[in-house]
């Protein structure tokens, strides 16, 4: 496979401009649900990979929550060794097609890329996507080793990014893995939350299919805490990984929130994505507002407002209480939303949802905000400007201001220690207060990103593997420090 290529000098590498991801025209894509980013060609991807300086001490690996050896796969890629690059990437990351599309690279690998100091970083995310998509299209060219079965059984609760990653890591180590999923389909937030135009559902399904082909069993329609209790599972399995996410929607707690036309982002996106209401022939009902206000500034808010636009809203507005620079969403999502004609009302906070006499939303009453001193998150604290109330006329309001823990599982597991907010407490190995029961993702750290949940899944799987082998989850040697969740983007 490897072809002889002229080796570039550092100066030549520095002279290559960063690739731009080809995308659907904003006016066209704003009314369809097809993926916005179109992907790179092999030629362009190999050229972009030449921009990597192969740093002796690569910061990008430390910047990655699942520690992908980025210089290694980029080197193989630019040498034209696609099977090698794919094997290298898949060895580190169980869901590269997903992360190549949804990671906030600008605050992770690309944020610490040496090239970003003088110009622009290597487009690591785009290259990860290219290699991952190539791997998906060429399964026969990948190395496939069936591990020796260990005879140990592991149950994973939840099939979102943390659960799927842990499943991939554990099955690779020869354990017998069963995932219990509450919904009828696997993928968690990847299928119910993130829209088709950002993460096509057949991509997620292909990642799930790859895990199933590796031997992972998936049991849908199983709600742990209802269909089975955690103590029951503990009796049936040698170890358990809890990755149920932080699934309960947070509402604004303002008057009028129960009016018709007010959705949680969870409900809105689940109807559109998992239940297929983006398709006009779907049996799942969805409201089509002409004017839609989405409250929040994270990725979920961007997904909701861009969905509303695609479902025909003439005015789709982000209502955010801080400013543009404080938006916690991925930079690319904000940029795409702006291109698609999304309006941003910054420094605005809702105080009431106003209804008409038939119980439908007619407007969102808001107050203007001004930014003060930084708060605990390091972002400027917004404060209302007295007397600045005004109305945003709209027929629909989508509340995307975060999620919290769901007590469904924990309430039926009295031995499981949780924080006052209902998040599961773990030790440094990811083990909970129940022996052999580990936890990770949003149900431990609070609402965060796909990749941080995947990092938890990967680390917990390693700890579970040690625990299953030796009875101790503790690491033998010190590993790289765990990335902090403080910069997490919702």
């Amino acid at each position: 496979m490897t072809e002889e290529r002229p080796k570039l000098t550092p100066k030549e590498r520095m002279a290559i401009d960063r690739v731009a991801m080809p995308e659907q025209d904003p006016a066209v894509r704003a009314v369809n649900f097809r993926e916005v980013n179109l992907g790179l060609t092999q030629q362009i991807a190999m050229l972009e990979a030449e921009r990597c300086l192969q740093c002796p001490k690569p910061y990008c690996i430390d910047g990655c929550p699942v520690s992908v050896n980025i210089p290694r796969f980029l080197k193989l890629l630019r040498e034209g060794d696609l099977p090698g690059a794919a094997d290298s990437l898949l060895d580190d990351n169980a869901l590269p097609c997903v992360t190549g599309r949804v990671c906030p690279q600008e605050t992770q690998c690309e944020g610490v890329c040496l090239r970003a100091k003088k110009g622009t970083s290597v487009a690591i995310g785009h290259l990860e996507r290219f290699v991952a998509d190539w791997a998906m299209a060429h399964p026969a060219e990948l190395i496939h080793v069936r591990p020796q079965p260990t005879g140990r059984t592991v149950a994973i609760v939840g099939s979102g990014p943390a659960g799927l990653t842990a499943a991939g890591e554990l099955v690779k180590r020869g354990h017998d893995v069963t995932i219990f999923e509450a919904f009828h389909a696997a993928g968690g937030v990847l299928v119910y939350g993130i829209p088709e135009f950002r993460l096509p559902k057949d991509i997620v399904q292909a990642e799930v299919d790859r895990l199933v082909a590796d031997g992972v069993k998936i049991v849908p329609n199983s709600i742990i805490g209802k269909t089975y209790t955690l103590p029951e599972l503990r009796e049936r399995f040698d170890a358990i990984f809890l990755a149920v996410g932080a699934g309960l929607p947070v509402f604004m707690n303002v008057p009028g929130e129960n009016l018709k036309g007010v959705y949680s982002a969870n409900e809105y996106l689940t109807r559109v994505n998992l239940m297929g209401a983006w398709n006009p022939d779907s049996e799942t009902p969805i409201l089509h507002g002409q004017r839609v206000a989405v409250v929040g500034g994270g990725n979920v808010a961007m997904d909701s407002v861009r969905t509303a636009k695609r479902l025909g809203a003439h005015e789709a507005v982000i209502v955010y209480r801080r400013g543009h620079d404080e938006l916690p969403a991925r930079a690319e999502e904000v940029h795409h939303a702006e291109q698609e004609g999304i309006r941003f009302d910054f420094l605005v906070a809702p105080v009431e949802v106003l209804g008409d006499d038939t119980g439908w939303v007619r407007a969102l009453r808001c107050v203007r905000m001004e930014l003060g001193e930084p708060d605990a998150s390091g972002r400027a604290r917004p404060a209302p400007v007295p007397g600045s109330e005004f109305e945003i006329p709209c027929e629909m309001v989508v509340v995307a201001i975060g999620t919290r823990s769901n007590p469904l599982l924990t309430s039926t597991a009295p031995d499981l220690k949780v924080s006052e907010y209902g998040y599961i407490e773990t030790d440094e190995t990811g083990m909970t207060s129940m022996d052999g029961v580990f936890a990770g993702g949003d149900i431990v750290r609070g609402a965060a990103t796909v990749i941080l949940a995947m990092g938890d899944g990967k680390r917990s799987a390693a700890a579970m593997d040690r625990w299953l082998a030796t009875g101790s989850a503790a690491e033998i040697e010190a590993e790289a420090p765990v990335p902090e969740a403080t910069t997490a983007k919702v």
Binding site: H184, N221, P249, E267, T284, I286, N406
Partner: protein, 301 residues
């Protein structure tokens, strides 16, 4: 896949399906529900578990065919299968274990009070059931409820049992006294009328709310209801609440959210409907069902 092992027609638009679901049959308790999804692309529909046979590994679902999705379900025959059945969901009924309980069922709501009456009877509670329908053919589960105690049947047109609404029969019982708890399930106007009736008597009155929901696990928040001024989720905090604290206006209003969508969806199906079924769906005006027939899939329970 969950096989249909038996099917019978309880009233012109209410069908009972006995469905294979061994784990749910084993662990379900009265008051709980399942969410079913007939096949790929179909809606998720919440349905009360009306009965269960843990030995046979089956549950009974009693379904009113009123929307496109519920009409698809009631069209199933033994040997057909439902792709997804998730549960048991919701909190089990908080049951008393002595005294006298009155179970009031309006229309398909009778299917929700039936397992409660059954369990109360098993615990030694004296049970009186009051069930209603527009006319004789709309009354369901009378024989089943008789195994749990006395049954008073009411029909709007007087064609069977007592002439009048269930609330009138209930008022007589309240006047007579000695009731420890009332369970009332039916269309929203009926539950509201029962709650208003029992309030002055200070009899604990539990109602089951048929809010619209997607996941049934607290994730979507679509089923939020207002109880004693607080927002609660029917799927995880309920579905049963103190009827004296429920804001029925909010419930009834939210149930109309997808009325337009439902009507369009039904219109699309009209060509494939069994003649007469659509008219029945429209015609079930009995016992306050007029409001309920327009509420979309949320009423399925």
């Amino acid at each position: 896949m969950h096989q249909i092992v038996a099917r019978d027609q309880l009233s012109p638009n209410v069908t009972r399906l006995v469905v294979e679901a061994p784990r749910i049959a084993e662990v379900r308790r009265p008051g709980q529900f399942v969410i079913v999804r007939l096949g790929e692309g179909a809606e998720r529909i919440p349905l009360t578990i009306a009965d269960a046979d843990s030995a046979a590994g089956t549950i009974s679902l009693i379904i009113q065919g009123i929307g496109a999705s519920t009409l698809d379900l009631v069209g199933l025959q033994p040997g057909d299968a439902i792709r997804d059945v998730a549960g048991p969901l919701g909190r089990p009924t908080d049951l008393i274990d002595h005294g006298h309980a009155v179970c009031v069922g309006g229309g398909v709501g009778t299917a929700v009070v039936y397992p409660i009456a059954q369990e109360l009877h098993r615990r030694g509670v004296a049970v009186t059931s009051i069930i209603g329908g527009r006319s004789r053919e709309w009354v369901i589960l009378e024989d089943e409820l008789r195994t749990a105690g006395e049954v008073i049947v009411c029909t709007d047109d007087g064609s069977y049992g007592r002439h009048g609404f269930v609330t009138e029969a209930l008022k007589d019982l309240c006047e007579a006294g000695g009731i420890d708890e009332i369970f009332a399930v039916g269309p929203v106007p009926m539950m509201r009328a029962v709650a208003e009736l029992t309030r002055p008597y200070r009899i604990r009155t539990t109602v089951s709310l048929n809010a619209i929901m997607v996941d049934g696990t607290g994730m979507c928040g679509g089923c939020r209801v207002s109880v004693d001024g607080d927002t609660r989720y029917a799927c995880v905090d309920g579905p049963e609440f103190d009827g004296h604290q429920v804001d029925f206006r909010v419930l009834a209003d939210r149930l109309t959210t997808y009325r337009e969508f439902e009507q369009q969806s039904l219109a699309r199906r009209e060509a494939c409907l069994i003649p007469g079924l659509a008219q029945h769906a429209e015609a079930d005006q009995g016992q306050g069902a007029a409001a309920a027939s327009a509420v979309g899939e949320g009423v399925a329970r």
